[in-house]
Symmetry: C2
Amino acid sequence: MRDYKILLNEVLERIKPSESERRILSNIIRKVMGRAERYLVKHNLDVDVKVEGSVAKDTWLSGDRDLDIFLRFPKSIGKNGLIKFGLEMAKFIAGENYVECYAEHPYIEAEIEGFKVDLVPCFKVDSPSEIASSVDRTPFHTEYVNLRLNGHLKNEVRLLKKFMKGIGVYGAEIKIRGFSGYLCELLTIFYKSFINVLKGSLKWHPFSTIIDIEGYYVGFEDEALKMFNSPLIVVDPVDRKRNVAAALSLNNMCKFMSAAHIFLKNPSLEFFFPKPVQPLSRSEILEQIHERGSEFMFILTGCPKIHPDILWGQLYKSLEGIENLLRSFDFNIINSTVWSNEKDLVIFILELERLNLPTVKRHIGPPVYNLDDSERFLRKYLYSSKVLSGPSVENDRWVVYVKRKHTSAIKLIRDDIFRARLGELVKSAFQERFEILVNEEIIDIYVKNPFFASFFTSHLHGRPGWLKL
Amino acid sequence: MRDYKILLNEVLERIKPSESERRILSNIIRKVMGRAERYLVKHNLDVDVKVEGSVAKDTWLSGDRDLDIFLRFPKSIGKNGLIKFGLEMAKFIAGENYVECYAEHPYIEAEIEGFKVDLVPCFKVDSPSEIASSVDRTPFHTEYVNLRLNGHLKNEVRLLKKFMKGIGVYGAEIKIRGFSGYLCELLTIFYKSFINVLKGSLKWHPFSTIIDIEGYYVGFEDEALKMFNSPLIVVDPVDRKRNVAAALSLNNMCKFMSAAHIFLKNPSLEFFFPKPVQPLSRSEILEQIHERGSEFMFILTGCPKIHPDILWGQLYKSLEGIENLLRSFDFNIINSTVWSNEKDLVIFILELERLNLPTVKRHIGPPVYNLDDSERFLRKYLYSSKVLSGPSVENDRWVVYVKRKHTSAIKLIRDDIFRARLGELVKSAFQERFEILVNEEIIDIYVKNPFFASFFTSHLHGRPGWLKL
């Protein structure tokens, strides 16, 4: 067996929060708590103000600048009361710089001394069975984790989180569809060390792995698989009906498994600290596009102003819709992705075998011995101006060679993009304006926009930096 | 129900042999028999000389110029004796103009007063169970048919044969893989009229229809289906182990069924007397090629000097081999065929979506959880110069984007045609020389060769003339 200790110690030295970082964070917490106290006194309210998230569990990483503060109101205040007083209190705490956000419930995202502080109103309930929304459940997660994570295991969580971040699968948000912090903590509790999580993952199998720490489904594994129907199932110890890994995509589950596999063979710092992507130069990128011999179609449009989770949900859905539209007209897609700066620009990237197809298309009809179908087919095609050859019989079927409706992918998108299944907001963005660029026509955008350039470079490169054997 | 009588009577008027035709044929038979008699007397041999084929059964069509004469030797003469004396006698009868042919056994194809006279030596046996080769069986077929075909049914056979010829499915030879004369006769005996054969065929289903006049397989239909495993099974009344339709292709079975279907809906003379194909003019054919937007590859080579059955067997096999080679490198074939004048020219015609493919090709590897396969895959591609992107993980699999070995179909054929499964004689022809023409480059050959022009015109047109609803 390999000894990973030296390497992991080196990683830990860099990711454990320092004393000075902890001090800065403590000061901010004290300040927030003070403001909360003042609000409560002033309004004579009975609200439990609690630090939650990775700070509460001491599993945060050096350099993190996130703080979650939960404002736990009594259930008696009611849903409207929670929204009214909760947001008011959160804004009071936030001070000058904040935005109002909507997840399941509204909350305030404040910026306080360089930290992103989420101020989340919720109900204080006695048990997870009484929750009204998922934020009410969070304190129970914290409690569960804190009872089981000793000092050593906290660092194992840190290694796992940093590994996940390094390979790009950390975060349950829609843009990523990766592993949440809580999921990392549960995996560490279950497998008892970072290395054991990696080793354990080599035995995972998509849609048939259940990690069930509390053993709720012992003897009922098949029912659990059917009920959750997810690539990975990690039963929530505080709510047996919930899969903590519900947001995890098959792709990210498998990316993690593959990275674990390679790390165990060939460990390196690069998994934790990947080198930033160096965008290819103007001439290099043009050469790569040319060398591939395929054809790139870039669809540019504006960016809907909306919470990133909704934005990315719509972007992925729209990408799939565009792909399906192209495929339904026989365009072969080699690869596709979507990029956005989440401000004013969205770029769908589609790499096609060819932007143009021949006019003629072979269309296979019914078997000759299905007489009614055959007659319908013949009546449709016998005198149609779309027909180039046939109808004729090939093997046991009627066949006709017709003119394609769309021989140009560009024209198809330009004329018929709204026939694709698009997210509503993306549809509106397209309705306002969109632009199609082909192959090297992207170069001005590429040169002007280093974030897009990095993204496109690593999309073209494909191979992760840690992938060495 | 429609009344086809007038139409069919009109057809019969044109296809029943006239009295003068019958007289000419009788004279030739008398002449041949006389020569045979002289040979037998001279050599003191006991040989039964018999007219066989459609003439013996009186099912020949006006205009046919074929005559089959069987020389039935006693079995005691032995195989070598049959070949020696059989061919000698056949050549004596043939006179000046003949060629020696090889099917199962050698025979002589003579030209006598404008007739093609096949002189076929065979053994005279007492029952079909004693036959040494299929030609020995023929007299039993003739006997069987003559016992069951009355004057009226003979004309029904003539209608069926002419219909089969008109729609291009008549003849059991390899080039056609259609219905033999004997098969037409049996179908007429079974269904009792031409129209009933057509109607009956609408109930056929490929690989599950058995026509078993003598009822050999009653109660054992499943065994018969398994044993014969052919699109259509017509049990030979004189040899229960033989499928008379063994040579019939699925395509021709279905072409017949489709033509029957259409004829019964919309009868016309065109099924029996199709208009000859008018080749498109030079400019028309160029326009059609252009309009389709696809790309034609014509592979030209010399023609092996060999019996047409062997030639066409090899041509079809080679066409399939060339198609498979192109497909294995991802070239999409819309349509293909092969033409030959059976003298000095063979042209393989392949219509491709594109002659050129992009360099980049997506190659899907093993699932990440198959650890050994994944390592093998990674070792193969991680440092390969063929890789353009990746390896990376997509869904649950390793994927790599590699450079295609062949981006040009022309170069593939030029460099690697001998990697295709070819008939031996076609391979030799290619080794001597072959030429690739693309799209309009075929035009000189097209203009110079009216037979090829007709063939290519009807290949492009596809639709049979009788196909009207």
